[in-house]
């Protein structure tokens, strides 16, 4: 059990922090939002130069993904700098699914191509009613002969508008969840594109009688187990991003309280303000502690602590964002200050891949001996 990144990961993190500090100001962020560009080519290219495509892949593909610490360190910095670049949506999510895939007819060709930046893939996972648990998806994959027909509706598919391919999570006739690769412009795929409140590019997707070849199924054995593992990886990545945001919000807010004068003194002199800052610090620490706990458990194949981290984002994470706004007062209600951008992102994460209440229920299921993870 460790409570820090290793020294190599720390160096990687420092490089990213430096890059974002120098080139990703809040003004730059606002320009990106205004122009509805979640990715800036100059920044993206530098991220690729850092080797970000190596993050989700294991050593079989010369990747760094056997230790998730690198990907998580990157997510923490994206959070800290409030960077829009779609690393999670276009690298980590599809990458983790491909890395877990055991269908070599897909992976042999696609993974090298993907890692070289030659294919953009979005992951169509969540559904409005069914939520985020793979085994509960309503989207169906009906096999007949050599063909599979996909039907369903996916929501908030991040980076879908620019994607060439989609990986869709769906259940087959036996209610077995799996993941399917298809072209984003395949007949029957309809996108409603939009910008999310936190500045991401996304789409709701209707899949109507989309026919694919049977070889487009990612998982042959233990599909649910693999999907749950990828899901835990995504939750961890979101957790790392929130940890980074919490750390930055603490700094911004403490600095503001020292320099904002009211009643002839810095507002940091007021005990009510001090105690709110202390609570923000405690909330930040809780998220950090749960993050390391979840990472350790994830490596051992236990995902309940990951649920705990995700659930706590909905309490401590949201509280940190709200307190930052409260302590800044009116100025935080404007777009001119970055604090609101952090709050929006934290809220978006709370609403993504299962809200606090859903994760609490998963934890309760585990505590009461009802819920078990899918066998490997």
């Amino acid at each position: 059990m460790h409570y820090n990144y290793n020294s190599e990961q720390d160096l990687f993190r420092d490089s990213l922090r430096k890059l974002f500090k120098q080139q990703y100001s809040y003004e730059f962020f606002r320009e990106q939002i205004k122009s509805k560009q979640e990715s800036a080519p100059a920044i993206w290219q530098q991220l690729l130069d850092f080797g970000l495509f190596a993050l989700p892949f294991g050593s079989d593909f010369d990747g760094l993904g056997d230790d998730p610490g690198y990907a998580l360190a990157a997510m923490e910095e994206l959070g800290y700098g409030r960077v829009l670049e779609p690393v999670l949506a276009t690298i980590l999510m599809p990458g983790a699914l491909l890395n877990a895939a055991d269908n070599s007819s897909i992976t042999n060709g696609l993974i090298p191509q993907f890692m070289a930046g030659g294919s953009t893939i979005a992951v169509a996972w969540q559904e409005a009613a069914a939520g985020f648990k793979p085994e509960e998806m309503a989207t169906s994959a009906t096999a007949e002969g050599d063909e599979i027909t996909i039907n369903g509706e996916k929501v908030c598919v991040l980076s879908a508008p620019a994607a060439q391919q989609l990986i869709v999570i769906a259940v087959d006739q036996l209610q077995q969840a799996n993941a399917y690769l298809l072209d984003a412009d395949a007949p029957g795929v309809t996108l409603t594109a939009y910008q999310t409140v936190d500045g991401a590019s996304a789409a709701n997707i209707t899949l109507q009688n989309v026919v694919i070849n049977k070889s487009a199924q990612l998982f042959n054995s233990a599909p649910l187990h693999k999907l749950q593992s990828v899901l835990a990886y995504i939750h961890l990545a979101l957790g790392a991003e929130v940890v980074g945001m919490a750390e930055r919000l603490m700094e911004i807010t403490a600095e503001f309280c020292k320099t904002r004068f009211q009643f002839g003194q810095p507002i940091a002199a007021f005990q009510a303000v001090q105690h709110r800052l202390a609570d923000m610090q405690i909330a930040t620490q809780k998220l950090q502690s749960l993050f390391w706990f979840a990472l350790d458990a994830y490596a051992a194949g236990d995902y309940i602590p990951v649920n705990m981290l995700k659930a706590e984002i909905g309490a401590s994470g949201v509280a940190i964002g709200q307190s930052a706004v409260q302590l800044h007062g009116g100025i935080a209600m404007t777009d001119e200050l970055s604090v609101g951008a952090y709050l929006k992102r934290i809220l978006a994460i709370e609403l993504t891949m299962g809200q606090r209440e859903e994760h609490l229920e998963s934890i309760a299921g585990s505590l009461s001996g009802e819920l078990e993870q899918a066998p490997a």
């Binding site: 403490a254 405690i282 950090q288 502690s289 309760a364 505590l367 009461s368």
Partner: protein, 398 residues
């Protein structure tokens, strides 16, 4: 660095020792503990057993009688003690006065006091708070006037836990009132049977005598009993307070307690219904579990950065807030789960060796007194309001 296999072996060694040495009355005292302060006679007997084994002071440096464990071993030890429901050693000896003497005592003082602190031959109480000096501890007035080689004490102390059981006291007294409040305070050791010293126990919310008032009328104490410098006791007190706040592992005790509560929640009644089937209980237990794990790993993360004898500094304030508030949350969830079982007043049945039968399932005998007593957690060792101010000071100093 101890690897995982060694830690597992260590855990087994601890479990075995506890199983071999847990006498029935000691276990009963553990089961009937309703606060941080276990029944006196039994917990001191347990301390003696641990001292004989060399395990009474896990956090002390080896040269003074610590076992030389790393932080993970210490945590495992606390956890297994809690899991076996051993009474928790009274903190005054090993967690408070011990570190103060190790940090500030002379070689003679160390040789004189430390062995008896370990065995429990001496039991110490803490003379800090006064009727007029609680959170504002530096405003304390209990006066010590120098007469030759002695100080003459006059005044009073309060919230002196277990003073009625103690034969020794470490106290903060005012030796100079001319300068800044924090100056002129002296940290001094004294005997509880000193002429002129009087103890008055107070009945607590939970029906037990834990807290006392102590009155001093011309109590004579040798100047040689001062720890640190005369007039500079505040440094010793601050050092000790940070140990008091940060030193204990709340999570290590609460996680096994949670496991026991969960077991009760998962137990079906004669109609097959479990507390864990109720949505409200499921939600409270899940949230509590998250808070417990967050606490546990915060303690481990902070402690893993400290080596033996290091002072945790301002982080101690965070650990104190988090530890006590999660403990209070636990006490609240437990009393809600207990429901009607928490209502019978069972002061008699709670005494070790009591012939009075317990009312109810027996799962919740301590739930209500523990809940009531836990209210003190956010008050003692510097209120959580004081801790939040200290924590904010550290945040704003960056």
């Amino acid at each position: 660095m101890v690897n995982d296999i060694d830690l597992e072996a260590f855990r087994q060694e601890v479990k075995q020792f506890l199983a071999d040495n847990a006498r029935p009355e000691i276990l009963e005292a553990g089961r009937k503990s309703t606060s941080a302060f276990a029944p006196f006679k039994e917990v001191m007997a347990w301390q003696k057993i641990l001292a004989d084994k060399g395990w009474a002071a896990p956090s002390w440096p080896k040269e003074y009688g610590g076992p030389g464990w790393n932080i993970f071993q210490r945590y495992i030890f606390s956890e297994e003690c809690a899991r076996a429901r051993m009474p928790t050693l009274l903190p005054q000896n090993v967690q408070m006065i011990g570190p103060a003497i190790i940090g500030y005592g002379t070689a003679e003082q160390k040789a004189q006091y430390l062995p008896r602190i370990l065995t429990g031959e001496d039991f110490w109480c803490q003379g800090y708070s006064e009727p007029g000096a609680g959170s504002d501890l530096a405003s304390l007035k209990c006066k010590a006037e120098r007469e030759g080689d002695e100080f003459v004490l006059n005044g009073s102390k309060t919230w002196t836990t277990y003073a009625h059981h103690a034969n020794k006291m470490f106290a903060l007294v005012r030796t100079d009132s001319t300068g800044k409040l924090q100056r002129g305070i002296t940290f001094i050791l004294l005997d509880m049977d000193s002429p002129g010293l009087e103890v008055r126990p107070m009945l607590g919310l939970d029906g037990e005598y834990e807290q006392c008032e102590v009155f001093f009328t011309d109590v004579r104490v040798p100047v040689a009993n001062v720890i640190g410098q005369i007039d500079d006791g505040w440094s010793v007190a601050k050092y000790l307070l940070e140990f008091e706040r940060g030193g204990s592992a709340y999570g290590a005790a609460l996680v096994p307690a949670f496991e026991r509560l969960l077991q009760v929640c998962n137990k079906a009644d004669n109609r097959g219904r479990r507390a864990m089937d109720k949505p409200g209980v499921r939600r409270q237990m899940s949230d509590l579990y998250i808070q417990l794990r967050a606490l546990e790993h915060t303690e481990k993360a902070v402690n893993s950065k400290l080596s033996h004898g290091d002072n945790p500094g301002p982080t101690a304030s965070m650990l104190k807030i988090l530890g006590t508030e999660v403990m209070q949350l636990f006490s609240e969830v437990q009393v809600r789960v207990a429901g009607f079982d928490a209502l019978p007043l069972q002061t008699e049945a709670l005494h070790v060796g009591s012939p009075v039968a317990e009312i109810g399932s027996g799962d919740f005998l301590t739930a209500m007194p523990y809940y009531l007593n836990s209210r003190a957690a956010s008050i003692y060792a510097g209120t959580n309001e004081i801790q939040r101010s200290l924590l904010a000071k550290a945040i704003l100093a960056q």
